[in-house]
Every structure is written in C-alpha cells, then in structure tokens.
Symmetry: C2
Subunit: 263 residues, 2 copies
C-alpha cells in the first residue's frame, strides 16, 4: 500500500506521472520536482549524482516502495551509482526508450536528442549498441529546448529555426526513429515532426516506463488493487509556477504542490 516515488529536476517528469496514473490507477504517487536547482542538464556528473541522492532520501522519508527517476539527465548520469547505493528498487527512463527504439527502427539508424549532460554521457548510445551493435546512433544535444518549453514557447519561427539547427545531423543521416531523450521534448513534438517529416517515429519513453514499472511491481508483488489513489506533489521552489506548467505536462489540473527543502 506504499506510494511510488517519482523525481525530476522540475516539471518534465510529470509526463511519466501521467502515464503511471493511466496504467496504474490504484497506485499512490509522491512526486518531487527539484525546481530550486532546475535545470540539471547543464550540470556536472558529480553534482547530478549528489542532487539525485538527496531527492531519493526525500522520497524515502515518504516511505515509497519504488522509485522512478523521471529525468533523462539523472537517469543517464546517476542511475548506476544510485542503484548500487539504495535497497529500494529504482528505474530510470533510458532503458525503456532504448528498447522501443531498437524494436521500431527499420533502417537501423536511430537519432537521440537530449540535454548536454545526457548526450555527453553517451548512455543512450551505449545501451542501444548493447541491444544491437549494428544500429548507427546519431546523437544531438538540444540545450535550448528546455528553456523554450519552460517559457511556454512550443512553436513558432524561432523554435522551428533552432529545431532545424539541432536536428540537421539526424536528418542528414536519414534516421527513421528518434528518441526524445528529455521529458520536456514531447511538448515540442509538432515542431520536431515538422523538421524531421512525418515518417520518422518519435519515441517518448513515458509510456514504456510505466509499462516497466507495472511489470516490476507485479513481479515483486507490490501492486495495489482496488485502492483509491492519492497523488502528492512536492517542489523545492516556485509551487505556483510548477502548478501552472504542470497542467500542460499532466494533461489535467494538478493539486497545489507543497514547497519543501529536500536537503
């Protein structure tokens, strides 16, 4: 009957929460968004690991039975370390997206877009190669996409122009599948589709992550049944800004988030 813990650097992880709620309607969820230190994507490995550990300790204080790292940057950079530290089962958002992309590609050319830290970690690339060494991976960092989304710029001339610049190497390489390696990017799908063309499949890992969470909880016999669920949202800063943006990520109104100091 314990809740599932989910953390992200800010608001993006709510795309994962949305899928968790849809696929696991009887689960309680405790969400933590580290809005005081957002964004993670421009920060170093050491710092992202430290922040992730602090977020996990916060969730553990809420007696979570399971933790989902709903942040691609933290999943890319910190997952092996934090999995080795904690007893609680932890999943990230990289592996599920990788599996879907490797399954989906026809021409064995997969594009990966993400924050600077995610791309620098080469984690997506390594995991794809592990599943299928024949796949060619073309990765591109899109550091301005997060500020665009957080400012509410989801389209228009400027965003399109920046998307063209970032996606050029993927287009040139003729990828048929692209992993949206950041939880903010699904909100830019229309622009990304406009640049890459309709035939390119965009992989948004949230759905796959929820499937994986369900499988693991079932395997561990930790799944709730027939229980009316509660969802609690905590942030380290700016609860009003969070709630305003949250609606867009979650696809429905969010109860007011509680501001906490997680460290």
């Amino acid at each position: 009957m314990k809740p599932i813990g989910v953390f992200d650097s800010g608001v993006g992880g709510l795309t994962v929460v949305k899928e968790l709620i849809r696929q696991l309607p009887f689960e309680d969820i405790v969400y933590f968004g580290d809005t005081a230190r957002v964004p993670y994507g421009i920060k170093s490995k050491e710092t992202i690991i430290r922040f992730s550990i602090e977020n996990i300790l916060f969730l553990l204080r809420h007696k979570v039975k399971f933790i989902c790292v709903a942040c691609n940057t933290a999943s890319s950079v910190a997952l092996p370390i934090i999995k080795s530290h904690f007893k609680v089962p932890i999943v990230g958002v990289i592996a599920p997206g990788v599996r879907e992309a490797v399954y989906a590609t026809q021409n064995k050319r997969i594009g990966v877009i993400g924050t600077s830290s995610t791309i620098r970690s080469r984690n997506y690339e390594n995991q794809i190669k592990e599943l299928n060494p024949q796949v060619k991976v073309i990765a591109s960092a899109c550091p301005l996409f997060v500020p665009f989304v957080e400012e509410g710029w989801f389209g228009g001339k400027v965003v399109l122009e920046v998307a063209k610049t970032y996606l050029k190497p993927l287009k040139k390489a003729g990828v048929d599948t692209v992993i949206l390696g950041c939880t903010h990017y699904p909100l830019l799908k229309p622009v990304i589709k406009e640049v890459l063309g309709k035939k390119v499949k965009l992989i948004d890992s949230a759905q796959q992550v929820a499937i994986e969470v369900k499988e693991i909880l079932t395997g561990l016999n930790l799944l709730n049944k027939g229980h009316s669920s509660r969802h609690k949202f905590y942030v380290s800063d700016n609860p009003e800004w969070f709630s305003r943006l949250a609606k867009r990520f979650l696809g429905r109104p969010v109860p007011k988030a509680t501001m906490v100091d997680n460290v």
Copy 2:
C-alpha cells in the same frame, strides 16, 4: 588587506570583476559562482534570498572585507534583506545602473531588461521613480537571453528574432536609454543595438558598480595600496565550463576555478 568578495549565480558576475580589476588593481578578489544552482532568474524570492545568504556565508569564511552582489536577480530580490542581516558592507548592481540611466536619459523614457525574477520584483522601476518620478519606465523580461549566452549564441537569426520580440515594447515606447539589467546581457550588445538602433544608450552597470565599490572602500579607509593582487575563483559546479565561458566575460584567461560546496 582583506579581499573583496563577489558572488553571482554563475559566470555573469565576471563582467563586474573585470571592472573591479581595472579600477581597483591592488585589491584581492574572491569570486563565488553558484553554478550548481544556476540560473537564479527563474526562481522565487524566498529561494534567491536563501541562496544569497549561503553565498555570503561562504565569502565570509574567506574573510572578505566587502561584498559585491554581482547578480542582478539577487540584487533585485535579496539586497534589502541581506544588508539588514550582515555587518559586512554589501553593494548590489541595481542602484549604480539606475543612477547612470536617470542621468543619461534625455526624453525621460528608460527601458529595463532582465530576468523574469528581476522584472517581477519592480526594483529597477521603483528605484528610478525614487530618483525621478517623471521618468517613464518600460520593463521587459528576456528569459531566453541567459540560455543563449550560456550556450554561446551571441548573434544570428534566432537571437535577433527573439531580441525583436522582447524589445518591441521598448522600441514602441521610444526609450532613449536601456539598462542591461542582467550581467549576461552585455555579451548581446551588438544584437540589442541592431534592434533598438544606435542612438539608444545601453547602460551596462559593471563600470558604475566598480566606481561605487571604490568610493565606499575609500570612505571606509579599506582600500589596498601598492599590493600585488590575487584573484581566486570558486564555483559550486562545473569548473571547466566556468573557465571556458569566463574568458569571454573577463576578457582574459581565468585561473582554474575551485569546485566547492557552499552550503
């Protein structure tokens, strides 16, 4: 003989350090850039105050005789509180820029650009009105300017297009003077000039801040004389990234910054 302490959310405050070194060549400087929690401009008043206090405590551990808040967001939002808390003399970057702008304007129309938090605080507006209630102030938040500068986008089609959007109300109001209310913005001067026209005077407060620091230190009889100066740089994350960008802000190579945990 004690050093001057300077802090900023990241690398922008080095534009102030550059002027301090030029105008106060005999002073030691300890700089702290809070790169683990950058940017401040999207965060709440309470959080910016908390971060500023932690940064000051860090500088006090380095026995500084004087503190310069080289961050417009922290100066706008936190200065009155931190000045009331600490004995060490503290100056921010708002008042010097305000004085210069009010002195410079001919048509009594001043534009102010800054981060969302800076503009929301209305601090510039209030201080300008205090000096001269007849001045009309047109303020505009430019939240994408910081990511542009930090990604090394100093010009080009996209930056120009965004600048046109942000600066439209200033242009429409016919301002003859614009305060660059963020230490990152001087690096976008060419684009801002292109949009506003050459006749509009851009106020970059760094120079005025250094003049004020010199005046205060002289008044307090704390000025160093004939002493070869040392400049030390500390960051809470990413010393390599900091040093790479620092060169551009400081106009000369920066000795490697030391990574520290300031809290």
